[in-house]
């Protein structure tokens, strides 16, 4: 009884240690200062959950029964590990970029996020793993039994079932505590991984210790042990070829597809580079684990009594030699193997069950429940916890009802063959773009049915699930449907038979249906994303945070919208969020806005897919579309650049031509200026001189003539003064030295005054006014404005060459401007002069030398001082000038 008590105490102590380690690791991870947590060796050690109690106890039993055949179970994973560059690297990369949470998630994501596929995979995984969990419970229970049997004090441990129940409950508690502590997006469990790494060390140490004791302590050294091996019942190589190859293949497949292996390999992976270390370290670990198996088996067969369970040799051999301490260590090793496997398997399965079965149902039942995010997290955690309990309960029930009698290895292999059915869908999914959902479903279904019929159901023995008659005569009396001899092929090992048929038909159906059916767009896009994962992603340095996502969005948006527009869009959004720079936080509002912006370029669906892909809520992968869009965008950009350049060149050329024309004209005008001004000054001067000479020299002049000549001189002097006044006025206006005298006045009154000043009323020019419904009160420099009006009316009077000259004054309001048009019915200004009429000394025709040609130049200067403009309005049926005046200088008279 004492031994047993010690055993229980050690067990509880060990579990307490695991709790402590897991707890510390969780805390360290929480504080983010756990570098050693992210060591590649922790990763490698966590992979060792492949070595369960089946390895620890079962391998020896396996070896004792069938020699070296047990090695296939470890050779398969070794091949997978050293071939990491092919498959695992890709799986891990996909897992990280797609945020995969389980193997069911991976397969369903690949095939267009199919919920049906996810449920299916989850169910197969649960069915395939339950026997395996039962196996662990059984092995721990057996090891307790071995101790109690050895303890001569007839230590009663109650019954086995109670032991198994306690173990199951304890494991469930531990898993719930550390496996569902938090609902992390990454689905990582630092505490659990650390505890598993510790257990990996314990079980390796224990097995090697027993091995060393057996070889050097009992066997009498290396060569003596080798001799003993050759002399034993398993002394020669007697592994059937078929089983050697099939089991290697099976274990390699299971290594990739077992839910718990997928969990540690892909989901818990911290860094892709850890694979590199694991690629050699894990094979080395497996090699060490299997190194001493044969010696222990052979020595056990030699020393232990006939009928002793070879599955317990690791434990019973040291016990029989009185090595209580070593036996205790060995017991702990076995306990470690069993617990670590059960914990991880329970976590993996519970994730799958809750994500793919419980949550969808719950969301369906609770209408609109998905809207309340806080609620869902609690429900998910609860679902996980219940799933863990459920998985362990299933394992316990399987253990209860299967009786726990079979050899461990047999149960393990059945489980392997079950989960290996995922392999075609998994490998096809990551290497073959043509693989589709229908193919995957059909392949899985066929594989699962064959596995269940040929291996799983028969494993309960004839008469439990399958009646005896089925074994002998086949299903429904069809002899080609016998569970262990499908299609009439007899004589095969049942396992090889089942693996061969299920895997072959699974693959064949998968390929056939994939070829024949057509995938949905989502599947095709996901397929491209998975298969070409290395072309589409760099090495992800951890899960991308907010800034990285914003940057990715920016890169994408630039490709779709063009750099300038995308940058301004992002900058605006960042400013709106109160951030400096170009990268806003990817808030839902911003994403929605971006999506809308982009949908203008690529369509709404694609834009949605693009944004959600970058934001990790991947529904579709559109890298291919992106590539197309990129090229199109580049070409479009190039073309529009060319067009813009060409247009700009044309514009510049036109401007140059215009400038050149004007320069030429100005140059001509400048030449004319001097002669013009001298001419203008000389004409009156000549008159004044001539008439003053007459007055001086002529002696007989009548009073009348005297008055006439003096008048001429006076008039010419006035003309000269006016000319000089005009010149002075113009120069003052041009230099901007003018002081405006802002007054209020009515536009109508102003026009009346202008009309009267020019004295046109009786002189044949008829003036019409249009568009003046309402009088407008001006606030501007009325004198200057009236100067402009007078000039324009006088011009019309002077130059209008129509037989019945008419002038139309049209007043209108446009936006913020008052527009007054002066249009006569003459022949107008010729096209080639229109540009020049506002220049100084410009006159339309030399014949009618009515003025000095300064009037319009002065008008232009005045209008620009008043904030308006005067322009020539071509095509009005005569000479037409438009005076534009800003509204802000006037108020409506109401």
């Amino acid at each position: 009884m004492g031994t047993l008590n010690i055993l229980i105490a050690v067990c509880l102590g060990y579990v307490a240690l695991l709790f402590l380690v897991a707890f510390m690791a969780e805390r360290a991870a929480l504080r983010g200062r756990a570098k050693w947590l992210r060591s590649p060796f922790v990763y490698t050690l966590s992979l060792s959950i492949y070595c369960t109690a089946w390895t620890f106890y079962g391998a020896v039993g396996f070896a004792a029964r069938s020699g070296l055949e047990f090695l296939t179970i470890y050779i398969g994973p070794t091949l997978v590990m050293i071939g990491w560059w092919w498959g695992l690297r890709k799986l891990v990369r996909i897992g990280r970029t797609q945020r995969i949470t389980s193997i069911a998630d991976l397969i369903s994501s690949r095939y267009g996020k199919s919920p049906l596929l996810a449920v299916f995979v989850t169910l197969i995984a649960v069915i395939g793993t339950t026997p395996y969990i039962a196996l662990q419970l059984q092995s721990v229970t057996l090891s307790f039994a071995s101790f109690s049997a050895n303890a001569a004090e007839t230590g009663q441990l109650g019954d086995h079932d109670a032991t198994a129940l306690w173990i199951a409950a304890g494991l469930a508690l531990f898993t719930v505590l550390f496996g569902t502590r938090n609902l992390d997006a990454n689905e990582r469990h630092h505490g659990v991984v650390m505890a598993i790494a510790l257990e990996a060390v314990v079980k390796l140490f224990a097995l090697v210790a027993v091995g060393i004791f057996v070889v050097w302590g009992i066997g009498g050294g290396l060569s003596a042990t080798l001799d003993r091996i050759d002399a034993s019942a398993i002394g020669t190589w007697q592994v059937p070829d078929g089983r050697w190859a099939a089991l290697t293949l099976l274990s390699a497949a299971a290594f990739l597809t077992l839910p718990r292996m997928f969990q540690v390999l892909v989901v818990e992976n911290e860094d892709e580079n850890h694979l590199r270390t694991a690629s050699w370290a894990f094979p080395a670990y497996l090699m060490l684990m299997s190194l001493f198996v044969v010696p222990i088996a052979v020595v056990g067969l030699d020393l232990m009594p006939e009928g002793a369970n070879p599955d317990q040799f690791v434990l019973t051999l040291p016990l029989s030699q009185g090595q209580e301490g070593l036996a205790m260590l060995s017991f702990l090793g076995g306990f470690s193997s069993a617990t670590s496997m059960v914990i991880v398997a329970a976590i993996a399965l519970s994730t799958m069950v809750s994500n793919h079965i419980v949550m969808p149902i719950w969301l369906r039942l609770a209408e609109g429940g998905a809207m309340i995010s806080g609620d869902v997290r609690h429900v998910v955690l609860l679902a996980r916890r219940l799933s863990i309990a459920g998985v362990l309960a299933l394992g316990y029930l399987y253990y209860r009802f299967s009786g726990g009698g079979e050899a461990l290895a047999a149960i393990g292999l059945i489980s392997f063959a079950g989960v290996a059915q995922f392999l075609p869908a998994l490998m096809g999914g990551i290497f073959w773009r043509g693989a589709n959902r229908v193919g995957a479903l059909a392949g899985l279904a066929v594989g699962f049915v064959i596995w269940a019929f040929t291996l799983f159901l028969p494993s309960f023995g004839p008469g439990v699930f399958l009646p005896e008659t089925v074994f002998e005569a086949g299903l429904f009396g069809n002899s080609w449907l016998r569970p262990e001899a499908l299609f009439g092929i007899t004589g095969l090992d049942p396992l090889v038979h089942s693996v061969m048929w299920s895997m072959t038909l699974n693959t064949a159906v998968f390929i056939l249906f994939s070829l024949l059916t057509f995938p949905q767009p989502l599947e095709r896009l996901q397929g491209a994303q998975f298969v070409n994962v290395f072309q589409h992603t760099g090495n992800p340095q951890g899960w991308s945070g907010g800034v990285a996502q914003a940057e990715d969005l920016m890169v994408m948006a630039q490709r779709i919208l063009g750099p300038a527009e995308a940058q301004s869009l992002f900058q605006r959004a960042a400013t709106a969020q109160g951030l400096a720079g170009y990268l806003p936080d990817p808030t839902p509002e911003f994403l929605q806005m971006l999506e809308r912006e982009m949908s203008g370029s690529v369509g709404a669906a694609t834009a949605h897919a693009m944004v959600s892909q970058i934001m990790g809520r991947a529904t579709v992968s559109v890298e291919d579309l992106l590539a197309v869009a990129d090229e199109t965008a580049q070409m479009m950009e190039h073309q529009s650049q060319l067009e813009a350049k060409s247009a700009e060149l044309t514009r510049t050329a036109r401007q140059l031509r215009a400038a050149n024309d004007k320069l030429t004209q100005l140059s001509v005008q400048k030449d004319a200026f001097l002669s013009q001004i001298s001419h203008e000054l000389r004409t009156p001067m000549t008159s004044i001189r001539s008439f003053s000479e007459i007055l001086r020299d002529a002696e007989e002049l009548g009073q009348e003539q005297l008055t006439k000549y003096a008048n001429i001189i006076h008039q010419e002097a006035i003309r000269l003064t006016r000319l000089l006044d005009d010149l002075l006025d113009l120069s003052v206006l041009e230099n901007g030295q003018v002081n405006l005298n802002i007054q209020r006045g009515s536009l109508t009154a102003l026009l009346d005054h202008a009309t009267a000043s020019t004295g046109v009323s009786g002189a044949g020019l008829r003036i019409h006014r249009r568009g003046l419904d309402l009088d407008v009160e001006m606030e501007t420099d009325l004198d200057r404005l009236s100067q402009v009006f007078i000039n324009l009316i006088a011009n019309a009077k002077k130059y209008c060459d129509a037989p019945r000259p008419e002038l139309t004054i049209r007043v209108a309001q446009r936006d913020n401007y008052l527009v007054v048009d002066f249009t006569d019915n003459g022949s107008g200004v010729p096209r080639d002069k229109q540009d020049l009429i506002f220049e100084k000394f410009a006159r339309v025709s030399d014949q009618k030398a009515g003025g000095a040609g300064l009037g319009l130049a002065i008008c232009r200067e005045i209008m620009s001082r008043l904030g308006g403009a005067i322009t020539y309005l071509p095509g009005q049926g005569g000479a037409s000038f438009r005076v534009t005046l800003p509204m802000r200088m006037r108020q409506a008279a109401e």
């Binding site: 080798l226 091996i229 592994v239 190859a245 290697t248 590199r276 690629s279 590539a627």
Partner: protein, 92 residues
């Protein structure tokens, strides 16, 4: 997202790296071939192979493979990643 515009010739270091990747890819085939040899043993008909010799062979293969993988993993250390971030495999 240009699909593979690999240059025709690579500089010496990149070339070496490429061949190391090839080596890494060939590893599982080497392992499978070596561990397939036991399939021939049972055909000999005459003297069967003893378990100790079989163990020696299988574990030697195991050891050699682990060592090779270790060497490859050290050589591929980091370089492969920087190589892949080159434009040759396409930037993000």
């Amino acid at each position: 997202m240009s699909r593979k515009q690999s240059p025709l010739f690579l500089e010496r270091r990149s070339y070496r790296l490429r061949r190391l990747m090839d080596g890494a890819r060939l590893m599982p085939f080497l392992g499978a071939a070596l561990w397939a040899i036991p399939l021939l043993w049972t055909r000999e008909g005459g003297a069967p192979v003893s378990t100790s010799r079989a163990m020696l062979y299988i574990f030697s293969v195991w050891f050699v493979l682990a060592c090779l993988a270790a060497v490859l993993s050290i050589w591929l250390d980091g370089k492969a990643e920087s190589e892949r971030s080159n434009p040759q495999e396409g930037p993000r």
